[in-house]
Symmetry: C3
Subunit: 339 residues, 3 copies
C-alpha cells in the first residue's frame, strides 16, 4: 500500500477545524486513541476518552473545545470531531488511491447508444447496455453490469461485480458495492390451477442522491410502480428490499435486515442488523429499531422499538422455551389465582 | 422506456376473460385500482375493492362476475382476476421488451463442446463451459457463468451475473436471477486433529421445470446425492438452501429464509421471509410457516405454524426480556401457588 | 460426469486406514450406509449404524475397530471413519475433476504488474489488478475479481464470480466461493448536519491459511485496522462479517449468520445458522451457539448458549405472543401472590 503524508494545517482546513499547534507538522497515519503512536493523528468525541487523551503519543488530535487544554499534541478543535474524522478518512483515501483513471477499458462492452459524460470510467469486463446514461465521473467497476436504459448520476461509484438492471435510476454521489443487485424482479406470483403464474414486474427502482448500497444487498424492482430509496439512505450488506418498498431520506439500515413488499419506512430511521420487517406496513419517521427485532406491525410513533429473545445458556434456554410454549396457560393460572 | 398499447379484446383473449364493452378500445397502462387513470386497465379481486371500483377512472377492469354491473368501464370478466392480471403483465412485458436477440455475443466465451440449441442467446462476458447443454431459447445473461456439464431446459432465463456450477441441472421455463449461486459446495467438514477436513461435495443440484430462484439466493450441491428443487418451486432473494435439501413441488419461500442441510420440505408449502429451518428435519406437504419463525423440529401435520417475539417499545421489551430469562422460575412459582 | 474407479488398497493408504479384505477389489461409488449398493464404499461412525452395517450390500466399509467383525464387506479400519470419509471425498474429487489446467485464459485481464507463480490458473473473464500476487497453484475462477495489491497464498481456489477487493490478503490452501465479497467497505458513517458522512475504510481484510468462505458471504474491510479471519476458519454461505471483526482459529460458522462491527470471536467456536451477533462484544474460545440465537452480550465462559422462540401452531403462538408482551406484568402479579 502507498503511504500518505499530510500536514496538520492542510487537514485542519479540509475538515473545518481550528488548528492549535504547529501546522507544518506532518502525520503519516490515522489511528484510534487507544493505539495511536507518534506520527499519527487521532480523535476523541467526549470525556470517556479523557484519560486516553492524556496518555496518547499521537502527534495530533481532533477534539472538542472542552478538551483542548488536556494534551500537548497538536490540536484540531471542532464541535463534531467524529465528523472531522470521517472527513479526514475521505481526504486520506483520495491521497492513497487517487481518483482512478477515466476511460473505457478495451475489454468492457459499452453499447453504442449508451451516453457517457466526461470523466466516466468503465473497468475491465464491465457491460453497459443500450440507452444507459452515465453522468460525469461515474465509475463502473470491473465486471459490473449496467442494464438497458439505466441512468446513473454524477460521481456515483459502482463497485466491481455489482448489477443494475434495466431502467433503474441511481442518483449522484452514491456507491453501490460489489455483489449488490438492483432491479431484479420482485417476488410476485399469482396462484394458478397448476402452480404459480409469474406477475411480471413492470416498475423499476429509483435511488436518490448520496445513497450507499452494501455488498450483496438486493433492491427489487416494483410490480407496477417503482421501489424507492430516497436521498441519503445508507444500506449495509445483505439487505433485502422487496418490491414497492419506499425508504425515506437519511434512513440507515444495518446488515442482514429484510423488508418485505410494499412496506414504507420513514425518514431518519435507524434500523439495526438482522431485523425482519413484514410487508404492507408503515414505519413513521425517526424510529429506531434494535438489532434482531421482528417488526410485525406498523409503527406510528417515533421512538425505540425492540423484540427478541436474549441469549442464555442452552440448558436454561431449554427450560424457558418449554415454558414459553405454555405461557398462555401459565398466565391464565395466574389470573385465576388473583381472583 | 417504450410504451405499450393494447386493445381490450386482445387482452381478453390472452388472459381468458369474457369481454363486456368495446373491444377496440385501447389501454396504455396497467395500474392498481386505487391509482388507475383513464387509459389504464386495472383489476379487482373481491368486495373489499367495491367502492374503489365504483370510483375508478380506469378504462378497463378485470373483475369477477359478481361485480360486472358495478362499473361503466370496459369489463374483462373471469373467475380469478388476479391470475388474469398476472397473465396481462406477461403479455405487457413481452410487448415492452420483445423477445431479445438470439446468438452468442462476441465477448462471450462458449466452449466448443457446449451444445446450444436454436434460439439460445449468450450475452456479453458470459462463460459457458465444456459439455454444457442449453436447450431451445435459453437466455444466458451478461457475465453469467454456466459450468462444465450443466444442463438448462428450454426457455429458461439466466439473468446477468448468475452462477451455475458444474454438473447442475435446471429445468425448462424457469428463471435464475442475478447474483444467485447454484451448485457451490455444501458446508461439509470433518473434525480433524489439526482443524477441519473438507468433505468434497460430489453431488449436484437438480432443479425442476418452471422454478424461479431469486437474486443472491444460494443452492448448494449435495455431498453424495443431489440437492433437489422440484417443479414449480418459487424462491425469493437471499435464500440459503443447504446441501441435500429437498423442496417439493410448487412450494413458495420468501426472502432471507435459510434451510439447513438434509432437510426435506413438502409440496405446496408457503414459507415466510426470514424463517430459519434447522437441518435433518422434515416438513410435510401443505404447511404454512409465518415470517421470522424458527423451525426447530419436524412438522408432520398440515397447517399454519409460527414463532417469534412481537415488536414492542424498547423500554417494555427490556422488562419482558428479563422476565423471559426467568420464565422457568416464574412458572414453578405459579405451580407452587396453585397447589 | 466422469466415473471413478479406485482399488480398496489405494483408498486405505490414502486415508490412513488398515485394510482387511481383498485390496485389489475396486469400488465405483461412495454412498451412505443406508443406500450403498454393491460396488460402493461406505462408512459408519458408531453403533447407531450397527444394524445398517449388517444389512449393507456395500463392497467396502470404513469403520472403527469395534465393528470390524460385523460385516463380510472389505473393511478399512481406522479410529475416525468420518475423517476417513472426508479424505476419501478429496481423493475422489481429484480423480473426477483432475487438477484443472493452469495458465491465463485469453479473455482474462491480468495487469502487467501482477505476479503469478507457477501453476496459477486464471479462467475466462477474470480480472487480476496491478500489484496482485498469486502464489503457486492458485486458481482464479471465471469472472472473479482480484483487486490491486491483493495477495493470495499457494493452492487457494477462488471460485467463479468471487470478488476480492484491493489490498486484502488470503492465506494458502483456502477456498472462496462464488458470489463472496471480501473487502467491501465497512458500514461506517458519521452523522452530519445534512445526512451521513462516509468514513472511508482504510483497513483491509486478512484471511489466514486453510480458510473456507461460502457463497455470497461478505467480509468487510476494517475502518483503520484490519478485519481478521484466522487460520482454519470455515464460513458457510450468506454470512456477514462486518468491519474489524476478529474470528479465532478453526471456528466454524453456519449459514445466514451476521456479525456486527468490532466483535471478537474466539478460537474453536461453533456458531449455528441464522445467528445474529451484535457489535463490540467478545465471545471467548470454545463457545457453541445454537441456530437462530440472538447474541446480545459478550460470552466469557466456554459452553453452549441459545435463544429463540420455538415453533408452535400459529393459533397457539398468537395466544402466547400476547402474553409475552405482558410478561413483566404477569411476573409482578406472581410476585404479589407469593408475598
Amino acid at each position: 500500500m502507498n503511504t500518505v503524508t499530510l500536514r496538520c494545517d492542510e487537514i485542519a482546513t479540509a475538515i473545518g477545524a481550528e488548528l492549535r499547534g504547529d501546522g507544518a507538522t506532518v502525520v503519516t497515519a490515522i489511528a484510534s486513541i487507544g493505539t495511536a503512536k507518534a506520527g499519527s493523528i487521532t480523535f476523541i468525541t467526549g470525556k470517556k476518552f479523557a484519560d486516553a487523551l492524556r496518555a496518547t503519543e499521537a502527534t495530533a488530535v481532533i477534539l472538542p473545545e472542552a478538551f483542548a487544554d488536556e494534551t500537548s499534541a497538536i490540536r484540531l478543535v471542532m464541535e463534531n470531531p467524529y465528523l472531522g474524522y470521517a472527513k479526514l478518512t475521505g481526504l486520506w483515501s483520495s491521497k492513497l488511491y487517487g481518483s482512478g483513471v477515466s476511460g473505457v477499458h478495451d475489454s468492457a462492452i459499452v453499447a453504442s447508444t449508451a451516453v457517457l459524460e466526461a470523466g466516466v470510467s468503465v473497468a475491465p469486463q464491465a457491460v453497459v447496455e443500450s440507452g444507459a446514461r452515465l453522468a460525469r465521473n461515474v465509475s463502473i467497476g470491473a465486471g459490473a453490469y449496467i442494464g438497458e436504459g439505466v441512468s446513473i448520476g454524477a460521481g456515483t461509484v459502482i463497485h466491481p461485480g455489482a448489477t443494475i438492471l434495466r431502467d433503474c435510476t441511481v442518483g449522484r454521489d452514491g456507491e453501490i458495492h460489489s455483489g449488490a443487485v438492483v432491479g431484479a424482479d420482485g417476488f410476485g406470483f399469482a396462484p394458478a390451477p397448476d402452480g404459480w403464474e409469474k406477475i411480471h414486474q413492470l416498475g423499476a427502482v429509483v435511488i436518490g442522491d448520496r445513497v450507499s448500497i452494501g455488498a450483496c444487498t438486493t433492491v427489487d424492482r416494483g410490480a407496477l410502480e417503482d421501489t424507492v430509496i430516497s436521498d441519503g439512505v445508507i444500506l449495509d450488506n445483505h439487505i433485502q428490499v422487496a418490491h414497492n418498498v419506499i425508504i425515506g431520506q437519511n434512513t440507515a439500515i444495518a446488515g442482514c435486515t429484510g423488508i418485505a413488499g410494499s412496506t414504507t419506512i420513514g425518514a431518519n430511521c435507524r434500523i439495526g442488523g438482522a431485523v425482519s420487517i413484514v410487508g404492507h406496513i408503515a414505519i413513521c419517521d425517526d424510529v429506531l429499531i434494535t438489532a434482531n427485532s421482528f417488526v410485525n406491525r406498523s409503527v406510528v410513533q417515533p421512538g425505540s422499538y425492540s423484540s427478541g429473545f436474549p441469549l442464555e445458556t442452552s440448558a436454561q434456554w431449554r427450560k424457558n422455551a418449554v415454558r414459553l410454549q405454555r405461557l398462555d396457560e401459565i398466565s391464565r393460572q395466574v389470573g385465576k389465582l388473583k381472583s
